[in-house]
Each structure stands twice: as structure tokens, then as C-alpha cells.
Symmetry: C3
Subunit: 461 residues, 3 copies
């Protein structure tokens, strides 16, 4: 800007100073909230409504006109109306020609209609440039100013310039626009606010299934078996003892499942001799939810830690301990320290502590604000090197916990092995295969494949 | 950009290539730091100073001129001078006419002057376009490059274009501008850096008050009472036992206070039959500090967990345990397991663990970077569904802990009930009222009211 | 935008609607991934390649031409080729004149070449405007859309307008451009993806060194000494007991080292009587890694907490406890409660809990998303006030733990004092000096110096 123009502008502040007028069709909650926020941000706002009576709820500085009149006042029209009423726009097609129509609507169900609301709008008013935006923002959040949840506004549309205009408004309102491409993306954007943790579904259902299985498994071994054979009532094991068998088992299995797909992928790439063919669909999906699997595993590990640490203050444990000591005293016995036991006990505890510590570290680095501050090399170092170290420590923790009980027949009740033996299967497979894969004879070709080399190049470049 | 223009530009790189010169009035710490950063980002900088001698502290690439000369060189002038010296700008009014003046000043106290510094500046130099910015940034952070605290720069001003120019500079310096509206917002922006956790004041003072009350209450019951009646010195309870009574009580009460205002709001909306009337002021304020209340509750819950887990390694507890066992042994007694006690003990521990686990989950999702990555449905699911589940688990934990002690007269010393009984009052009220509110006969009208329906519509649309 | 122009535009949507064509030299992994992402974001893409046969791997909507033809189609050319092949650009110098060349290359080692790749490119094609960008982004992340690690794209270049054009593309791809200044910054930007936690190196090596020292120190005192004199095998102490001596000691020492440089800085400023002279280099570096030092200290403190809480479930501890109780019972002894011991035990536990709690709070506020939401006053309050309180609590925890053992000769084995005595040296120095520094006679001049006052002003302003 040159000084002259700057001075001129100051003399006539009202010419270039203004933002573009924005028109809002619909005076419902969302329309009003958006209008209010826009006026705050310096946009002149005109509402288009069936009745032009202003209500006290409509922001004072806004004009209320008929739809046709309001539309003529602005280049951008926000359609804050439900999809089923879009028909009324058809007669206005003439006036809306060339305008930017912003579809802010949401549906009640995922994929409720065959085409997205925004595409439907574009069909109804073919002359207009439709942009999808603002549907992820809540009216309440706009009004109260407490944007605790997302400040992100997904924007899509076929017209680049129209999209840019809408993104400028989004930015002016203090929100973050994210360009999602052409209007085809509208379906996905409309489904977004209806989603409930879609990436978490598989890990959570998997862990619920495994939890149910291991619950009944442990119930059989630890409650029903002693009740049948020894007439002892250990039903209260349901509260702590059994959960504390399930949690470590699930934590270990899920952690191993985080690293299993990477091992599969390496084997497939080695077998195919190229990295330029897509993985099977199930493997792709599995790889994309590894972070969620890992976090669910961390949740089970944390519960295991808490369940373990309360052991000494459980009424049952205090009763058992004091009974043991009393009977020792009555029998006049003083045991000497069993060094092997001391070693086993201390080392499985230490391995568990270190494994859990690294696990929490992995969890912290997966926080968005932390992972956004590391480069790729650091991210891979943490998620791969530290991740495998965690898996090794946790597997060793379980192995040492088992100690010499693996071969003891008393570990098998009704031929059922202890749960921790079952939990070791997948981690051990992952670790063994990974160990084989880092042998130079396999690691070298794998690295070359990953750098783009192909055994049977199909495409000359 | 077309290729031609691109080529032309390359031939004469110095014409369009430069950024606008920026003038800075004042060569103090902040002025120099800002100048230095601007030069790094490609802005030619000219300082306006009383004395035009350059000092070694002023960035080398900057020019130092008299105020009048410097002002003429730039369209944007940053006033890095304290408010009490603003008077010297009056004689420069002519030269400053039409310029953008950026007020970067801060005060020493909240609301120190009747009008904000920026508004005062706008009165002194009526022809200039005043923009408030940069006051939240520290000189030290600018210079050292370690912007550990906020990168956010609040900007406000009456002139849209001037504000835009300043926001472009903010962005070029690698900071994030946040448009706060007209110059009226300057007062708030100037108060911002002087604030010390304003949203946390109410939760912290409330919890300090409750802590003091429950401290003296427990002191009376647990230390003074046994001293008076049994001449026993339990003064060391002050270190762990009494804090471990206060923490769970406060955690539960504060958690219930997070959900109480929502219950009030629902009752008010049902009674009024509309959502379009403002809540009383105290309710509004209460609802806005729910997150902080919840996090303080989580802090107390975490302390409770730590205090509980160290119980077995307390010297007093080890003494009590070994004395009990010794006397058992001396009396030749072997107790049999009390299944009811085992159940009570294990289930209150399990409920506590699960409640705390969900509580921590709520805490993690309230981290800004996490809550920014979920949509509204997910945010509400976590904060409302999981939140109520946490409250139910924690209340049940306390109820089961009490067990059959509620009616035992030994629980009442000097007619004072146990602290945990007091802590149950508010949570139980919240849960009962919430349960009534989700009965269909109340939930249906409430949902309709929240969707905009009114029992006695006052405003025709 | 005026309504007229908006309508006109709609009639001829294909003129102004398009984004600028982007040319990409090189059809390797990164070039293809970037091309794919750009097409998604609405950019027409043309590849320049040695062979113009299209391969199925190249995005369908992209054209593949010879280098010369492709270059003529766009103003921006992305050089997705390795540095060693840059020579082929020399003959194209004519065509590339005035174009924006984007260097996206990375090296295999830090400072591999004397000049950065981008500067080398600028020397090879002097007529072009070279911009460094995109080198921190991974091809895999671009393709899969899972930008888990950084979305930040560092951009630098000598031509402001060229840089702006590239930054617009970065933004359109949904990434965050960070302007790093002139092309001189390219070296640093190219080194960035090769770095592995550079700020963490000093704290981690320091703590590894201290860990090794204290490990052998404790080994001597706790394993070798009793083995030599009492023939007892305590080798299993290596698993838990010795780590649990090392962790608290390191946590305390590292925490004190966080506050030591601030104390040094204050003394230097007081001595010099000015803040306008640079600190010695070692002090500057030390001050910049305080956050990392503190987080490593927190890691050790967390391990100490876990190691301490598992004490009661260690096999050795249960053996020792039951043996003590059995021998008490056999000797018919009932001990009375030692109030002093109860006080000491409970208060060092309580101090430790509170210290650890504040320490975790400090850790949480150092998360980027949290520290970005507080102002400077709040940040300083937490990091300085709460930090010193943490240091005081942790030092007191160690002092009380020692209790009356300091003077007991049994604490010295082979004249080696207990590790916790060594750990107290630095924290006590820091606290004593800090206490002296906040005495008014020193605090007042220090505050004035920090506000800019100089004892012997060297530079008149």
C-alpha cells in the first residue's frame, strides 16, 4: 500500500473499509447465531425470511427482507434452512444465478439421502455456485463463544473462487477452514458431525469381544473350578482379580496387534518384490487404526497398573497374608529368603514398570499437539523403535511372571491354560517374525523395495 | 499469476518484491525486539526516536530518524511507548493523519485507566486508524525465538483494512492473529496479559473454602475426639489420613457441581417453556467454568489415588497390621474369610478404579489439542455420557465404601457424621434429578424446547 | 466483490475459476505423491520427465511432457529430483528464467554439502527464483492422508512474491506454511528432517551419565558391601531397589538443574549491572533446554513413584515383613506406636505426593496445546512459582526421608554417604541462593536491571 492511497482512504473511510454484505436465508437458531457472529466480525448481514417482521431474537444490526430482496443485496447467500424446504428456492433461480450459495445443513442419519444436501441444492439451482461449509459448527458454540470442540470448518465446492470467498469468511470468524476439494466431498462432510469415533469402532468392538471371552474363561478357571472341586466361594474375584487378569492380557494382545500389520506388510512386499501394489483392503484398514488400537491397549495397561497397586489394601489379601503369618507363627517356622523368587518377583515388576512407562510415553507422543511438533524421523523413531521396545518389555514381563509355572500341571485346570499363556501367542509371533525380518538377508532387499526398487519392474519410467 | 507477469517480475525483482516499510516509535526493549523480528521477516524497519544516534542495541539494518521523518516513511507506525508519553504524538497529528497506528502497550493493573490505551491513542490522534495488537507477546520471547507461551496475537480496530494490514504482519512474523472486533475490545485485550487464570478463580476459591471446612471437620472427628476421650495422639493424621479424607470428598462434590448447573438449566427451561430467555447471571457464569471445576475435581481425585496407594507403606499402617497379626497369633486365633467384607472391599476399590479411569479420560479429552479433533457429537458424548457415568461410578464407590456403616452409631462422633456421608448429598441430588429428567414425560418436552419449540411463543417469526 | 462481476463470472466460469498450473520435474515417489495431492486440491499438474511415457503410477489427470515443454506450461516448477541430478537443469536455464523453482530435496546426513541444496540450485539456475519447501513432508503421509506427524511446512526464499505463491499452495493442500526468511535458512530447513530430538540430547546424555554413576555407587553400597561383610546375596536389588534409589536422586538433581541457570543469570546481571550483555554461550544453551531437563526429571520422578508403590507386593518385602512379625510373635512382643516415626513416615510421603502432583501439573502445562492457551503472566507463574514450590517440596521430601539418619554412622559404608545425601547438594544450593536473591536489597536492583536500567549505561539512547 502506498502512502497516498492510505491517506485518501482515511478521508473516505466508508468506501473501501466495508466487508461484503452476506445474506442468510432462514431465521432459525443457526441462521441467527451465524448472523450474530458475522456482524461481530464486521460483515453487514441481511436475512431472507418468509415474514419480514423482525423479532427480538434477530441481531439488531441485521436487515430482514423477503428472500428475493435479500438475495439481491449480497453475492454470498447462506442457506440456513432444512433440506426438505429447499424447494422454495426453485422460483428464485433467476435471482440466485451466479451467486455463491453456502449449504450449512446437516442430516439426522448417516447417508440419509442418495445425494448430499449440497449436491441436491446444486441441482435445484443450477446457475449458482454451491459451497458446503459451517455444518460442523454448533449454533450454541457460535453464540456463547466457547468453541471447546473443533474450530475446524470443512469447506468444499466446485468453484474455486466461490470456495475462496467462503474460506475468507470462515477465517474472519476466527475459525479454521479446511479445503476438502470438489462438491463430491459434501457427502462425507455432511456425515462427519454424525460420526461417533468411527476410527475407534474396530478397536473397541475387538476389545469388547476379547474381554467377554477372557472374562468367561477366567470365571471358569478361577471361580467355577474351585467352587466345583473345593466348594470355595471366590465369587468376589469378579470385582478385581478377574479384571486384573483380563486387562494385562488385552493390553499385550492389542499392543501386538498394533505391530502385526506392519509385519504382514513387510512379508507381502518381500513376496511381491515391489511396493507399488496396493495392500489387501483389510490390511489397509488395519494399518489406519493402529493408533487407536495402541491407545485402547494403553487404557487396559493403565487399568492393570491400578488393579495391581491396590492389591495390598484388598480385604481378601490382608486376610490371606495375616492368616499365613499367623499359621507360620503358630508352627514356629521362620522361612529363609528364596533368592530365585526374589529375583523373579522383582524382575517381572521392574519389566512391567519400564514397559508401562514407555507405553505412556508412546501415548503422550500420539497427542495431536505433541506429534505435530516432531519431524518424521522422530515420529518413526518413537512409534517404531520405542514401540517395539515396549512390546519386548511387556512380553518379557509376562514371560517372567509365568516363570516356572508354564510346565506345572497345576496351571491347567480342566485342561485350560492360564490366560497369560494365551496372551503370549501373538506377541511372540510378532517378535519372532520381526527378528527374522531384520536379518540382513531380508532387511536389505526390503529396504531397497521400500526405496522404490522392483524385482520385476512392470512399468518403465 | 500469468507467466508473462511472472517473467517481467523477475527482470525487475526490486519493485514488487519488497514488503512495506514499517515504522516503530520508541527504541525500548519491546520496540527493538519487534524491529529485529520484522527485519528477519523481510520488512524494512525505521525507528522513530527522540535522539537519532543509533545505539549498538538497535538492529543494524534499521534506520533511526526523528519521529516526524520516520513516520513519513511508512504507512504503519508501531507505538512502542508507554501510555504516559503518548502526549508527544499530538504535535505529529498532521503527519500521522491516515496512518495506521499500532498500539502495543500494556498497563500495570487491570482497568487501570477509564478508557483503554488504544482508545486514548485514537482520541489523541483522531485522523489515524488505531489498531491494537502485539501486547500479549513478550519481548524476550520475540528475541530468543522460544515462543513457549502463546503465539496468539489479539488484534482489534475500527478500520477493517488497517486491521487486515496488521494481521498480515502478524502472520509474516510466524504468529497467529485473532480478530477481536472493533476498538472497543481493546480494554479486554489490554487486560488479558494481566490476568492470572480468571476462569480458575471461582473453582479454586471454592475448593480452598471447602478444603478448610473439611480439614477442621476431620480434625475434630479424627484427632481431637480421640485425644479428648481416649488420650491418644493421632496428630500425624494431618499428613496423610486427613488429606485422604478431604480429597475424595472434594473430588466428588466438585464433580457433582459440574453437572448441577445443567440440571438447573433443564428445570428452568422446562418451567419457562422456552429456551429463548437468558439464564440468570450466576447460572451462566457457573456453566462457563464447568471445565475448570471438573479439572480441579480431577486433581483432588488424583491426590486421593496417590494417598490411598501409599497406605501400605505408611509406618503407622505397618505397625497396626503387625500388631493385629501378633495379637492374633498370641491368642491362637485363625479368622475365616468374611465373604461380605471381601465383596465390599473389592467392589468399592473396583468402582473407584473405573471411576478414576473415566475421570482421567475426561481430563485428556479436555486438552485443547484433543478436543479440537473431535466433532460436536463426540464432544457431547464424552463430556455428557461418560461424565455422568463417572459421576455414577464415583458416587457408587463412596456408597459402597460406607457399606453398612451408615447406620452404625460409632460413625457419629459428637453427632458429626463421617465426611463421606456429607460428600454424598450433592451427587445424589444431581443423579436423582437427572434420572427424573430423562423420564419420557419430561425428556420429550425438554428436547422439543431445545430444538426451538416454545410453549407460549412470544415472537411470531 | 460487486454483484455484477459475480454474475459475469458465473457466465464464464472457466476463465477465473482455475488454479495456476504447477509443473513437477521428476516422477519418483515424492513427485507423484505431491502431484496427486495437488490435483485433489484443484491444481492442474504437468510432469516433466526424461521419458514421456505415462506410467500407471502417475496420477491420471496429469500430463507428462519433456522437461522443457512442461516448464513452459507453469510459473511454478517443483524440482522433485535428487541433488546429484540437478546438472540437467543447466541447459534449461533459458526456459527456467524467472520461474519459481521449489526445492523439495533432503540429504542423507546433516550438513552433507557445503551449501544447501536450494542454494546450489539457485547457483545452477541464477535467473530463477528458488524457494525451499515441502522437504519436511513425507510422501507416504501425503498419499495416505494420515498426517500424524507435522503438518508444518517450512518455507524460505529470497523472493518475497515467489515465497508467497508457494505458501498459498501449501495452504491449499491443507498444510501450514512457516516462513523461515531468506534462502540462507535452507541449510537449517534441510537439516531439520534429519534431526533426532536435538534439544533432548544434552538432558538425556547428562542423565545417562548420572544414572551410570549412581548405579555403580549404589551397587557398591547396597550389594557389594553386604556381600563382602555379611556374605548376603542381595543381587536382586538391581531390579527394583537400586533403580528406586537412582530415580529420585536424578529427578531431584535434574529439577534443580532447571532452576540453577536462572540463578546464575541473576547473579551475572547483578554483577554486570545491566541486562544488555549476552550471557556466556554455555548458559544460553543451558537455559534453552530447561524444558527438556524438567521433563526428563519428571520421567525419573514418575518411575520413582511406580517403583515405590510396588514395594508392598515385592516377594522380598513380603518375606521380610512376615519374618519380622513372626519373630515378634515368637518373642511375645507388642510394640507401641512410635509417634515420631509415624510423623516422619507420613510427612515424607505427603511431601513426596504433593511434590509429584505439582511436578505433573508443570509437565501438563508444558504440552504445546496447553502452553499456547495461557498468557505470559500465567506461563511464568506456573513455570517459576509452581516450579520453585515443586523444588522445595521435593527437597523437603528428601530431607525428611533422611530424618535423623544424616549423622548416624551406619549410613556411611566405606565412607560413602547415602545417595540421597548427594542428591541434596544442588537443590539446597539453588534454594539458598534463590532465597538470598529475593531479599529486598538484591531483588530491587535486579528488578530494575531487568526493566532496562543500567548501572553504568554505555549507550545513550
Amino acid at each position: 500500500m502506498k502512502k497516498n492511497s492510505s491517506n485518501t482512504m482515511a478521508l473516505a473511510p466508508n468506501t473501501s473499509n466495508k466487508r461484503e454484505t452476506v445474506c442468510i436465508f432462514g431465521t432459525g437458531d443457526f441462521g441467527r447465531a451465524l448472523g450474530h457472529k458475522m456482524i461481530q466480525s464486521g460483515y453487514p448481514v441481511v436475512f431472507g425470511s418468509r415474514s419480514t417482521q423482525t423479532s427480538p431474537l434477530i441481531p439488531k444490526d441485521a436487515e430482514v427482507l423477503s428472500h428475493a430482496e435479500a438475495a439481491q443485496k449480497a453475492a454470498i447467500i447462506i442457506i440456513a434452512i432444512q433440506r426438505q424446504h429447499y424447494n422454495f428456492l426453485t422460483p428464485l433461480a433467476e435471482i440466485l444465478h451466479g451467486k455463491v450459495l453456502v449449504d450449512v445443513s446437516n442430516n439426522l442419519k448417516i447417508n440419509q439421502y442418495p445425494e448430499s444436501n449440497a449436491e441436491y441444492l446444486a441441482q435445484l439451482v443450477p446457475g449458482a455456485k454451491v459451497v458446503k461449509a459451517f455444518n460442523t459448527v454448533s449454533a450454541w458454540a457460535l453464540q456463547s463463544g466457547t468453541l471447546d470442540a473443533s474450530r475446524q470448518v470443512f469447506v468444499c465446492g466446485d468453484d474455486m473462487e466461490a470456495k475462496q470467498m467462503v474460506m475468507d469468511i470462515v477465517r474472519a470468524l476466527g475459525l479454521t477452514p479446511l479445503d476438502q476439494g470438489s462438491l463430491l466431498a459434501a457427502q462425507e462432510i455432511e456425515n462427519y458431525p454424525l460420526q461417533l469415533f468411527p476410527m475407534w469402532k474396530f478397536p473397541i468392538f475387538l476389545s469388547l469381544g476379547l474381554t467377554a471371552f477372557f472374562f468367561f474363561y477366567s470365571l471358569t478357571r478361577d471361580v467355577i473350578y474351585p467352587y466345583v472341586y473345593e466348594k470355595e466361594d471366590f465369587s468376589f474375584f469378579i470385582a478385581i482379580s478377574i479384571p486384573n487378569r483380563i486387562c494385562p492380557v488385552l493390553a499385550l494382545i492389542l499392543l501386538a496387534l498394533v505391530y502385526l500389520p506392519g509385519v504382514f506388510a513387510a512379508i507381502i512386499q518381500l513376496y511381491r518384490g515391489t511396493k507399488y501394489r496396493r495392500f489387501p483392503d483389510w490390511l489397509d484398514k488395519w494399518m489406519l487404526c493402529r493408533k487407536q488400537l495402541g491407545l485402547v491397549a494403553l487404557a487396559f495397561a493403565s487399568l492393570h497398573v491400578l488393579y495391581t497397586l491396590v492389591i495390598p489394601i484388598r480385604s481378601f489379601v490382608r486376610w490371606r497374608t495375616s492368616n499365613q503369618i499367623v499359621s507360620q507363627a503358630l508352627n514356629n517356622v521362620t522361612e529363609s529368603l528364596n533368592i530365585t523368587n526374589a529375583w523373579l518377583s522383582d524382575s517381572y515388576l521392574a519389566l512391567g514398570i519400564l514397559g508401562f512407562f514407555l507405553f505412556v510415553l508412546l501415548g503422550i507422543t500420539s497427542l495431536p499437539s505433541v506429534s505435530n511438533n516432531v519431524n518424521w524421523r522422530e515420529f518413526r523413531f518413537v512409534q517404531s523403535k520405542l514401540g517395539y521396545l515396549t512390546l519386548i518389555l511387556c512380553t518379557a514381563h509376562t514371560l517372567v511372571y509365568g516363570g516356572n509355572r508354564f510346565l506345572s500341571p497345576s496351571s491347567y485346570r480342566w485342561y485350560l491354560p492360564n490366560t497369560y499363556m494365551l496372551s503370549l501367542i501373538i506377541p511372540c509371533i510378532v517378535l519372532v517374525v520381526k527378528f527374522v525380518l531384520i536379518l540382513p538377508c531380508l532387511d536389505k532387499p526390503l529396504t531397497r523395495i521400500r526405496q522404490g526398487w522392483e524385482r520385476n519392474p512392470q512399468y518403465s519410467e
